[in-house]
Symmetry: C2
Subunit: 419 residues, 2 copies
């Protein structure tokens, strides 16, 4: 069975497990909170205004207001929900799954009038598909310069959309073929509006390809294989083992700090440290070598740069600045003298024996005593603990977090997104 046939079969027939659906619901709520919180970002305004000006059939909700044709709503919502870079991450997939997949599935769900349960199941099928394709494409694909959020995300978006459209296997294989010729997105966009745009491109490509396949466009049946061969894919078949039975989406990570995910293990470790900042002599952070090139700005000058700085965020955490609040990452905070002073005492060390989800922190006090803490983002967290943490995060992002949290109908969710 080809990889395209396996994914098509998964899209058409799979039955999500209850625990995976529960996790998906948390990712959905977190995605919606991030989207609503990002609705007034410059990127959001530009794309929404352009979309509304172009207009079209009011079939799918746009975050921040209005309804547009499904492919267009998917594009805009994908970009808006990634604007704050505060949405979920899947480390094995090497990217953000929800921002590429959920906007596509949501737009199609509104278009076809799906139930909330069918919508949630399709979100999970799309997200799981994105994760599996991301793993199948592998680290080579990422390292050469592709953005899995966009590329693997487009495949996942397509699989979720096909599910809601009631595709049969032939249509699903055509959809996978068509998305393979449209999926795109480069890492070189990191640091520009092109990064969140990439998430929107994934969502749009998934919706378009699925709708094209359902309308009868013919396509290669080996689209993903060709995509892998051209896009430096590792093409490791192990990535698909257990598809439909085990759910890699259970390994998704959520951000509890409004900064680069590479800083989170350190920040979780520091949450266990309680010392008077004035007693600190030095701080040593040990992290995976990859993060050194991603988020180790020693002297950030802006709020954006602070989001990619071990020293700054460590200082913020030790000084009691709320790193879960977006407002904490302002230009002013980046220049605060006490934080600048403390961050000057922070050293960052790479250690290849750590995973990308692990960090160690060693705080040395002026009296010579040492506090050692460590954290592994992969360590188990119950759904209840995760839900509580995400709900608290949502309360800091949106006004009506509790209404969002209790959503049980698609129309209630989309009304909150449009508001």
């Amino acid at each position: 069975m080809s990889i395209e046939a396996k994914l098509a079969d998964f899209s058409v027939k799979s039955r999500p497990s209850a625990d995976a659906l529960a996790m998906m619901r948390l990712s959905l709520m977190d995605w919606a909170a991030c989207g609503i919180a990002g609705r007034d970002e410059p990127l959001a305004v530009i794309l929404r205004d352009k979309g509304i000006a172009e207009g079209g059939k009011a079939e799918a909700s746009v975050i921040g207001g209005g309804k547009l044709p499904a492919p267009r709503a998917a594009l805009i919502n994908g970009a808006i929900s990634h604007a704050l870079d505060y949405d979920d991450t899947h480390f094995a997939h090497i990217g953000h799954t929800s921002v590429g997949v959920i906007p596509a599935v949501l737009a199609v769900a509104e278009r076809v009038g799906a139930s909330f349960d069918d919508f949630l199941a399709a979100c999970l099928i799309g997200s799981e598909g994105a994760v599996r394709v991301g793993i199948w494409l592998g680290r080579d694909h990422y390292q050469i310069g592709y953005h899995q959020t966009a590329t693997a995300g487009a495949f996942g978006a397509c699989l979720g959309a096909l599910r809601l459209l009631g595709a049969n296997e032939t249509q699903a294989i055509a959809g996978i073929g068509l998305v393979s010729t449209k999926a795109a997105g480069l890492k070189t966009q990191f640091g520009t509006m092109g990064k969140p745009l990439n998430a929107g491109l994934a969502a749009e490509a998934g919706v378009e390809a699925a709708l094209w396949a359902m309308a009868g466009l013919t396509s290669t049946e080996t689209g993903l294989q060709a995509f892998g061969a051209t896009h430096h894919g590792v093409a490791d078949e192990v990535a698909l083992e257990g598809l439909g039975e085990t759910w890699r989406m259970l390994g998704v990570s959520h951000k509890f700090h409004a900064c680069c995910h590479g800083l989170h293990a350190m920040l979780e470790a520091l949450s266990e440290v309680s010392v008077d900042p004035s007693h600190i002599a030095s701080v040593e952070i040990t992290t995976h070598p990859r993060w050194i090139t991603v988020c180790n700005k020693p002297t950030p000058q802006t709020g954006l740069e602070a989001k990619f700085s071990y020293s700054q965020t460590a200082a913020m955490a030790l000084m009691g600045v709320d790193t879960s609040a977006i407002a904490s990452f302002s230009d002013e905070v980046a220049k605060r003298a006490d934080l600048v002073g403390l961050r000057g005492q922070v050293a960052v060390v790479a250690d290849g024996s750590l995973s990308e989800m692990q960090a160690r922190v060693r705080v040395t006090l002026i009296d010579g005593s040492v506090v050692k803490v460590a954290h592994d983002l992969a360590s188990p967290m119950t759904l209840e603990v995760r839900a509580a943490k995400l709900q608290r995060k949502a309360r800091g992002l949106v006004e009506d977090a509790d209404a969002l949290w209790n959503v049980a109908e698609l129309a209630d969710l989309t009304a909150l997104l449009r508001a």
Copy 2:
């Protein structure tokens, strides 16, 4: 100066030469004829119906009827105009330039109310940009599996769109960056509707990226460099030599036969052969090795397969079947006994010393005499001869070819396309 800066400068400032504009006008007319002739193809109906159903602001004409937002019209028209695979080819660029570029420039021209002359100049700037980027990406990019029509085409479409939108250099560089993260298209689609769709994807990507840049989306400034590095680009800077001074679009090829371009040098050579088919003992075709894998089906069973067959099209030409007529490539003609008999006498030989644009034909008659002919598609053809051949071709494709040929206003052209 970076390659992005060079292309941006070219888009913003270049002044097309008169001879290049005259050639562009011929490509434009040929493109329009192919588009109108393809308006009822299954792919055309599917995409146009979907577009009309989704609706939106009536700013750009759709081939076959209606107006839609510019990005959507660009997508649909790109695909429709490539549906018959009868549009122009640029061998150095390794693809079809007009189907990716013209639909984008046309949609933007209608959106901004451009004059016909400005529209034509932007078509040329976009096409020249596509050719240069195609050469820069090189043969490796094509051989690994990318479709230059779609990828380099998207960059060209963007450059042409930026010209009409009045972009400054900063905006043009942003547009190039944004199109680099959206440009996509795989050769594995050849033989399916995904192939003409790829041309539409190029046109859409170019329009979207240009409009996004003008609306203020920020982007990497080294987008094409990143695109080349990830997409197996050769990145040969020689490709940009003389940009703005010499026009590689003067080397564009037009199809005068309704089949794969690899067969055309042979068919032009055979047009000089006048023998009674019943006197033929054997035919030997010598061609470039690449074409052996593209268009050497020895026993085609359908009209589509006949379009990729040396033996069938050689037999058709020798038997006086009009290879310029689309209707000649029917399933019936593929099965005609006299043609099947003659094609059985045809041998095809590869010769790496020929260029891809050259072919030799040796016809041996039953009496032992031999007729030898050869043709090089690169051999000079005056604009007048080319115009006459293209106008004759257009008369076989559309009802109102002479009206099309005399178009001098954008509104007249778009009215013919919508009809």
